[in-house]
Each structure stands twice: as C-alpha cells, then as structure tokens.
Symmetry: C2
C-alpha cells in the first residue's frame, strides 16, 4: 500500500515549510523509504479527521496512521530498525532533549526573526487562523512580536552548544547524520523556505553543517521550493 | 592500587566546587567505584606535573592517569563497561552536546550570577590567579561582569529545553540518571557549594530534578560542604 505524508504548504502547493514535516521527510529519506506527500493547509482540519488529529505531519503507512513528528520517528525506528534515527535507551532519551531544544530555544528565536515572512508565505485562506493562534500564544500582535534584532541575538546565544559540538564532528549524531540532526535541521529549513534572512554567519560552524544537511539525500533540502522561487511572492 | 582524584577546593579543604570534578565524582559513584579525593588549589600547578596537565580533575586509577572530565567519563565507560555513563555511538555523540550546553549555556549564565560568591569561596592564595584568568576571559572586571539579574534571565532562557525534558522523564537520561544528568548537575552543584543564590524557582521541574540529584548515591551532593556551613565565611 502507498505511504502518504500530509505536509503543510503555503501560498503555492509546492511551498512546504513545516519544521515538523521536514523532520519526517528526512527521517523517511534516511530509512530509504518512498513517500507521496499530500499538500495540506492549516484550516483543512476535516481532511485529517480520519487520523483523529488536527495537525500535520500525519503519516499513513499502509494500514497504520501515525501523528506527531517525534512519534513518527519512533514508529519508523520500531518498524524499520535499520539505520536508527533516535535509537534506544539513553540515545533516545537524549534525542528528546534535541526536540525541546529545537522547539523551545531555536524556534522562538527564529520566529521573532521571520514571523512576517512566514505570514506572507502562508496561503491567504490560512492567514487569519495563523494570526489568531499565534497572537494568542505570543500574547501580542505578530507585528509587536516581530523583532529580527532580538530574534537573532537570542538565536546566536541558543546556538552556542551546537556550534561547539560541530567543532568535534561533522554532525550532531557523529560522523553521519541521524535523528538529532534532522530534528534541528527542520527548523532551519522552515526559515529557509519562507524567508531570505541570514540566520547564521557563513564563518559559523553551524553554517557549514547547514550546507552539509542541505546536500543530504540528493539535495532534498537544497531543492525545496523557497518563497524567493515564486515570482512576485516575496515582499 | 589506590584510585585518586585531584579535586579543586576553596577556603576550606572540604569545600569542593569544581563542576568538572563533580561530574567525575558522580561518574565514579554511578559505577560503584571508590575514590580518595585529594584537595588541590588553582595555583598548585606543580602537584599535577606528573599528569602533564595543569587543571583538575586528574584521575589516577592504578597505573593509568586520565585528565579532562569528559575523557575521564569515556575512560570509565571503556574500563568499567557496566552501567554506561555516556554510552556508544549516537548516545555518546549526543552526550557531547550536553557537555557544551553545560559549559557554554548554563555555566556563563550561572557565573554572572555567582561570580562574587565564587571569588569569596576561593582560597586567598588563589584569588589573584582566578581574577586575572577570568577577567581576561570575560574581557572586563569581575565586578563589571557580575550581574545576577542578567545571569538569572539568561539561565531561565537556557533552561527551557531541560525543563521540558523533565516533564517527560525523571532524569535527562530517562528513568535513571546517567552521564548527561551528571554533566549538567555538576554546574548546579558548583553554584550550590559557593553561593546561597536560588537559581531556579521551587515550582520549576528543574528544581524537582535537582532535589532528586542531590539525594543520589547516599546524598553525595546534599552532604557536600557549602560555604554557608563554614562559620563567618559567607559574606
């Protein structure tokens, strides 16, 4: 049976920006598993009713439906044990830290930097939903929250341990990438797809890692459509 | 042959505050290995000449001398493979991130908060050395660097992923503590020994984890001498 991933898209069906969906796409590529991605937008909740969930990623793998990106990675490790993503025991417990580091340290810093670009990249029918849910979460308007100066300063501090790690090895998970790399990279790809902002200096070890990550799996990330590829879309 | 750890001490020989030495003491306790700790002060460089190194921890394990706390943890895993601390493969690569998170995110934030308490806890003969090396590192005087308000704000942000992790499991390394827990806890114990500053609110999941860590291995951390235990020493 087919393998299908419901994948968040923006103004163009090909513009895929969810950091959580990117984690899963890299995880599938890492396992050598094909997938058909199905474009989905924030307000298309009814399309996910079958999964008992209202957010992507949703992976349908034959008979099995799995929601939540981290749970999908665990499912993939259980079902396709070759080339572990998260691993077991201490490795898996530590992977969880990277999930929260991505979501609670990197994402908020990046969000402050690119939120207006993100709004612009979202399909017009989704924008009111996005604004309402995020303004509630941030406790202020998107315009008030938006502060590239603050965001980049916050990001620079948050990246310090990653920077040091990448002085020791080419990837967070060692000499080859695995789950922790994909989890972190999802956030950078999210920003890259919707914005042309430079998040890290090209002298930063994080920059060299990003270049390596972009090249993986036949350039999966490098070939991803960006807002700047759509004529007249980037403002 | 005896197992000896050279361990940094302060105004009192019993006041042991090095976060790196604490990592090793917890690692040894985790493996069930006895150790004789030998008090050492910053300026006693000649006492470490035998190790070809000028900083503690230095572990002498029979015929073998190992320096650097992370390398000591790796050595212990290789030599005493029961109850892994760092583990192998992805687990070990990920452990490295915690080392840098402790050293580059947590330590600077804590240092800004407690540096004057730390200076006060250091033996008078070491204070000029400490001031000179740290002022050079910080690019300003200790008094200028000292800012509990900034340090605590920085620490609060840096702790966000740890806080979230500890909502999922009792320890960073899962249901039982291991290397990542000890690496991070070393920094908190460093601050606890030299200062009475409250670094985290008692409603914080990090606080509950600290309490669990203090109780481990027969209260190794809880029973450690603090500056406040020495009459007239805390000012």
């Amino acid at each position: 049976m087919a393998r299908v991933l419901y994948d968040l898209c923006g103004i163009d069906e090909g513009l895929r920006f969810s950091p959580y969906c990117w984690r899963v796409r890299y995880a599938l590529a890492h396992k050598g598993l094909d997938v058909e991605t199905r474009p989905w937008r924030f307000t298309e909740k009814e399309a996910l009713t079958f999964a008992g969930h209202d957010k992507v990623p949703v992976l349908v793998d034959g008979d099995v439906t799995v929601v939540d990106s981290y749970d999908i990675l665990r499912y993939l490790d259980r079902t396709y044990p070759e080339a572990p993503l998260l691993g077991d025991g201490m490795a898996e417990s530590r992977a969880r830290f990277f999930k929260y580091y991505a979501e609670r340290s990197l994402a908020p810093a990046m969000m402050r930097t690119i939120v207006m670009d993100l709004l612009n990249a979202i399909h017009p029918k989704d924008r009111a939903y996005f604004r309402e849910t995020r303004e509630k979460r941030f406790g202020r308007t998107l315009e008030e929250f938006h502060s590239p100066a603050k965001g980049l300063t916050q990001l620079d501090a948050a990246l310090e341990p990653l920077r040091a790690c990448l002085g020791d090895a080419d990837f967070v998970d060692g000499s080859a990438p695995a789950g922790a790399d994909y989890i972190l990279f999802g956030n950078f790809l999210w920003a890259r797809v919707v914005s042309s902002a430079d998040l890290v200096s090209n002298a930063d070890p994080v920059h060299a890692w990003l270049e390596r990550m972009l090249d993986l799996h036949d350039g999966l990330g490098r070939n991803a459509m960006r807002i700047t590829d759509i004529q007249g879309a980037y403002r």
